[in-house]
Structure formats: structure tokens, C-alpha cells
């Protein structure tokens, strides 16, 4: 068993290519409050010791089931939450670094334009009382990023890039369809020319044909504007499509992190394997795959997680050690990180390539 902590390994990688963002041992605990005196009776560990890095220009996927803490991690990075512990090291354009987890809200403002977010629900994330121009330009106005004269030009420009007609700038969100609203959300995120964009389930609420349009748009914009994405989703097919590397979370912990191809074809964590096996494949000729894995039971309660490895009550390879000792995230070569005691012994099956 390796003695290294996830942090030290990630540091070793960080030295050979400076990542745009490095999350180290991020913890976000939400207190459970009982009674009128607000007595704290416990904590929901939404993110527990999460470490990863994002290189400039790549797309990192964050997958997991609902309640696994993937959204919490995203929100900590845009600093909608102040993390309980850990650090979020961001590399500025001049190659100096800053720990976003520590800075105060005033200083944080300078990074708001660099790290932006795209939300899931295009209906509730746009203020119905603001027209499209006001929605997109709000960030420019609040942060005084440009003069009012330039503002109109900038909004028109980003709308065009996002496939919206600038003539519709004065319309209100209700006049747009779901796909168009999502484009407005994307335009709002990109108008400041950010360096990192956190996409939280950005295409999950969309219809199949519109989803394909938005995915292609995001890919085009990434290339044109030199963006880096943290793409949070529960949809493994979408993640596969858009991501270079993928991190899998389970009950607040990172269980596997690897290159997308390696993760899908050769998963090393039993949870990743069962996720892969549960994805319905749109090909009826493959439906009689015999080796399907069906997970028993439910996702563990993050306020009262099981002992040892959180996945052990549902894991079909679980041994005694799994219930007593918590596995740490370790590198099994080629930057393939996994948090499982038996990762190098198990032979797991991934997705068969078509």
C-alpha cells in the first residue's frame, strides 16, 4: 500500500505542467441543525477530501449519481460556497497562483470574470424580469468591465457567437425556447471571456436534437475562445462525448480519475464498472449482454456514511478490509487515479467499443 497522500501525488504532476486549477483536499461540510437553538448534530459531508487538477484547454468531466457532491464541488470552485477546508489553487494569466478558498469576497470579485458557470435549468436560471441584454450584460455592468457604449457591441458579439440573433436582445426570456435559453445562459457565462467555465448539467434538461446542437456549440466555443471546461453531469454518454479526462464521485469522495478512454474501456474502481454497465446502449443488438452488473441497495447517506470504503456495502468484490480501512486515491500509472484497495487485483470490464 502506498503511503502517499493524494495531495503529494497531485503535486508531482503539477510540477511538469502547471494546471489552470488545482483542487487540493477540498472539504465542504454542511451542518445539520436541530431545534430552535440551532444545535449542530452532525455534518453532511458533501465533498470530502476531493483533489484534482484541470489543465488549461482541457475538459474535465465530473460524474456521479445525485447527491454525490459533484455540484457542491462545482459551486466551491466558483466560490458560491466557502469550503470548510482545503484549497483551490487558481493560476492567473500572469502565471502567479492564488488560493480561491482563502481569499475574501472583495478580492474574489477580480476572479469572478475568469471563472464562470453555466446552469442546468434554462427556465429558472434566467430572471424573467430582465431582457436578454440585461441578463448578458449584468456581469459587465456590475464589475465595470467596459463602458456602456461597448456593452451593446459585446453583447451582440457574444450572442452571435452563441447562435442567437442580436436583434432579439431586447426580448424577455419567455419568448425563447429551451435550447435558445440555454444559449442565453452560455452567452452570459462567456461574455467576460472567462478562462474556466463550470458547466453544471448544462445539457441535461434539453431534448435530444437540441442537446446535440448545444454540445457542438460548446465544443466550437471551447476551440474559438480557448476555454477550459469543468463539465458536471450524470449522463455518461454526454461526458464521454465532450471530456478529455473524467473524475467519478461517490458520496462526496473521488473514487476514480483518469483519461476518458481509459476510464470507459478499462475502469479500475468497481463503482465505475457498475456505472458503465448500467448505461443503456442505443443498440438493440447488444441488449442480451450477459455480464450486466446490477447494484443492490441505495447510495449511502452522506451524513451517516458506512465505515471504511463508502462503496463496500454495494460492492460485489468487497472483502473484510473494505469495511474497516478507508482507501486513498492513488496513481496506478498513466495518471489513472483510483481509490480502491484491490484496484490492481480486480479485472473489471468497461464499455465495449462499437
Amino acid at each position: 500500500m502506498t503511503e502517499q497522500t493524494p495531495q503529494s501525488q497531485l503535486n508531482s504532476i503539477a510540477t511538469n505542467g502547471k494546471p489552470l486549477l488545482e483542487v487540493r483536499n477540498l472539504k465542504m461540510y454542511f451542518p445539520i441543525v436541530k431545534g430552535i437553538f440551532g444545535k449542530i448534530t452532525g455534518y453532511v459531508k458533501a465533498a470530502d477530501d476531493v483533489s484534482f487538477y484541470i489543465q488549461s484547454g482541457e475538459t474535465l468531466g465530473l460524474v456521479g449519481e445525485s447527491g454525490c457532491g459533484k455540484t457542491t464541488v462545482g459551486r466551491c470552485i466558483v466560490r458560491a460556497y466557502k469550503p470548510t477546508d482545503g484549497s483551490i489553487v487558481y493560476q492567473r494569466a500572469d502565471e502567479t497562483t492564488v488560493d480561491l478558498a482563502k481569499v475574501d469576497s472583495k478580492e474574489l470579485q477580480t476572479y469572478r470574470k475568469d471563472i464562470r458557470m453555466i446552469f442546468q435549468d434554462p427556465y429558472s436560471s434566467l430572471n424573467p424580469r430582465m431582457n436578454v441584454f440585461e441578463i448578458i450584460s449584468e456581469v459587465l455592468r456590475v464589475n465595470e468591465l467596459c463602458s456602456p457604449k461597448e456593452m451593446e457591441y459585446m453583447v451582440a458579439h457574444i450572442m452571435e457567437q452563441c447562435g442567437l440573433r442580436p436583434e432579439y436582445m431586447r426580448r424577455y426570456p419567455h419568448a425563447f425556447s429551451g435550447g435558445e435559453r440555454q444559449r442565453i445562459g452560455i452567452a452570459r457565462a462567456l461574455v467576460t471571456s472567462p478562462r474556466l467555465v463550470v458547466c453544471d448539467e448544462a445539457v441535461s434538461g434539453l431534448d435530444v436534437s437540441v442537446r446535440a446542437q448545444i454540445l457542438n456549440l460548446m465544443e466550437d466555443l471551447r476551440r474559438e475562445m480557448n476555454l477550459t471546461y469543468l463539465f458536471i453531469s450524470h449522463d455518461l454518454s454526454v461526458i464521454r462525448h465532450i471530456c478529455d479526462r473524467v473524475a467519478v464521485m461517490y458520496v462526496g469522495k473521488l473514487v476514480e480519475l483518469a483519461d476518458a478512454n481509459a476510464l470507459y474501456t478499462n475502469p479500475l474502481h468497481p463503482y465505475t464498472e457498475s456505472l458503465m454497465s448500467a448505461v443503456p446502449i442505443p443498440n438493440p443488438n447488444l441488449r442480451d449482454r450477459k455480464n450486466r452488473i446490477r447494484l443492490e441497495g441505495e447510495v449511502a447517506d452522506p451524513s451517516n456514511p458506512p465505515s471504511g470504503c463508502y462503496f463496500h456495502p454495494r460492492c460485489r468484490y468487497a472483502k473484510e478490509r473494505c469495511s474497516t480501512e478507508t482507501p486513498v486515491l492513488r496513481d496506478l500509472g498513466d495518471h489513472h487515479f483510483v481509490a480502491c484497495h484491490f484496484a490492481d487485483e480486480l479485472e473489471l470490464t468497461g464499455v465495449r467499443m462499437a
Binding site: H234, M276, V279
Partner: protein
Amino acid sequence: MADNNNLLVQVEDLKIHFFTNEGIVRAVDGVTFDIHSGETLCMVGESGCGKSVTARALLQIVHRPGKIVDGSIVLYRQKSHDQIEKVRISDLEPKGREIRSIRGKDISMIFQEPMTSLSPMYTVGNQIMETIMLHTKADKNQARARTLELLEFVGIPRPNRIIDEYPFRLSGGMRQRAMIAMALSCNPRLLIADEPTTALDVTTQAQIIDLIQGLQKDYDMGVLFITHDLGVVAEIADRVAVMYLGNVVEYSDVYTIFNDPQHPYTQSLLRSIPKVTATREKLEVIRGMVPSPFRRPSGCPFHPRCPKAMPVCSEIEPKTISLTENHQVHCLLFDEDAKKPVREMAS
């Protein structure tokens, strides 16, 4: 088609229109399909294509101002051992005695949102027992015993405790299981599942699909499964009806739909989904978006987005063409009569 002995429901040329202040919405515009016992028919399409409304019509629970304006829905109901009664559901009063004896008994339904379709005011057990006591002569104790049996059957742990819990105490997957238990409480002949797994995680989705398929085998039920997820369709369907703006545009067995689709919409839809088995490449898209139901395009409603549209497509509404006995397409590309006059005009 399968032999007619196990025919369950036959829907013919069903039209459901919504009479709103802004105009008439043709939500379902001439839909024909049938379901046999033991088979799964998947209805697939994007939002607003009329798949949910069609399913609701089978139980006469179409929301106002929607109304069945034309067509028929016939339920083949087993009266006794070898006697089958034909019930025209489309003619029944939505609040009448007869349809109420069918709902939950012969046909039952699972809804998309397990959060909102269970009443928060009653315990899970109460809600399931209500259905049982309504449709059978069981008394409270018998109904409770049957409910416990059902809860155990759908894989709910500790049914003795869960039966007296309120729905908010259950997770999404458990609520959906409770819904399924309720739907199955009177051994229905037809189960309508309206996006039952859309709100669930992949691993829970896989569990629920397994459960429905297992139950179907045990009870020889017919299942009408509504979804927009083509992966789920490929996994469970026997036959598939692809819908677009109120029409079934293609209707065939699952292998034909996926391996040899003929309608341009089906073809583009299949190409526009990201696949877990394929590497990163640009997705093919269907241009434009689903039009507003108030501005339904003339002729074939798909023509503004169709890659193979011909001039005639904006003028004539397509008919349903049978390519083979079990492959129907709703497209003018296959209608030789419709194409002719255009060719003559062109020459």
C-alpha cells in the same frame, strides 16, 4: 403482427386537440397503434410530440382543455375465461363508472415524477390499499397483507416499516418502486409507464427497468413505455413508435428502427445522440428546433427541419405508408402518388 388473441388495446386514428385561447393545438393528430399482452411498445419522441397525451387518453385522463376529437381506443377486456369484451374507451365519460373500474384495474399507470404523483398526506401503505379496496372485495386486513406482499415484491427493504411511512421519507428510487407496487396491485393487463426512469440515476434506472421487465414476464402484461431516451428503448422495446408533433412518423420492431430506419427524423435522431461506445466526434444535429404547437408547419410538420425535404412536403400532409407488414412510415418520400405531380411540373 402477433395473433389477435392476445390483443389488448387498439388505437386507431386518434386525434386529441387542445382548445386554448390562443387557438387549437393538435397535440395528437391521427395516431394508430396496438399493444398485445406480454409485449413492450416504446413511444419515443421529443417534448411536445404528444406521447404523454396519447398515454393519458388510454385512461381518459387528458387534461382540460384537451379533448379526444376523433378516432377510437378499444380495450379488449377479459370478461371470463374465454369471453373477451370490447370496451371503447374513447367513448366513455371521463368521470363515469366504467372508466373508473378500468383505471388501476385493467390499465394502470406509472408517472414520471415519483415525488409529485404520491400524495404527501397519506402513508405509502394507505395509498396502495386504497386501490386494492376499490377494485376488489378485500377488507382492510387483506388489503394490508397484499400491500406488504407487493412492497416486498418490488424490492423495498423492510416493508413492515415502509408501509407506514410517508412518501417524503423515501428516496426517489424507493418512491418509484412504491408507485410500481401501486400500479401492480390489481394485476393490470396493461401497464403504462410515462418516463418512469427519467428522474432517476443510471444505476437506479437499471434496477427499475429490470423490475418492470421481470414483472411483465411473470404477469404477461402489456407495457406501453414512454421515454425520450433511445438507450432505454434499445434495451427494452419489442416494438417502437417514433413520434413527432402529434404523428407516429415511424412504427416498427426495435431492430428495424435501430438498424434500418427509414424516416428522416428517426435517422437524424439516432445520429444526434452521443454514444458511450463511440469516441469524440462532432454530433450530427437536426437543424432548428421543435416548432411551437401553435405554429405547426404546413404539410409534413417535420419538413422545415428535414434534410430530405422536397417541395411537395410543405403542401401535402403525408399518409402512413406500409413498407412491410410491420414497418409503417409517415413520410412523402415513400408515397409515389404524392411525388408524381411534382415531377411532372418540374419537367
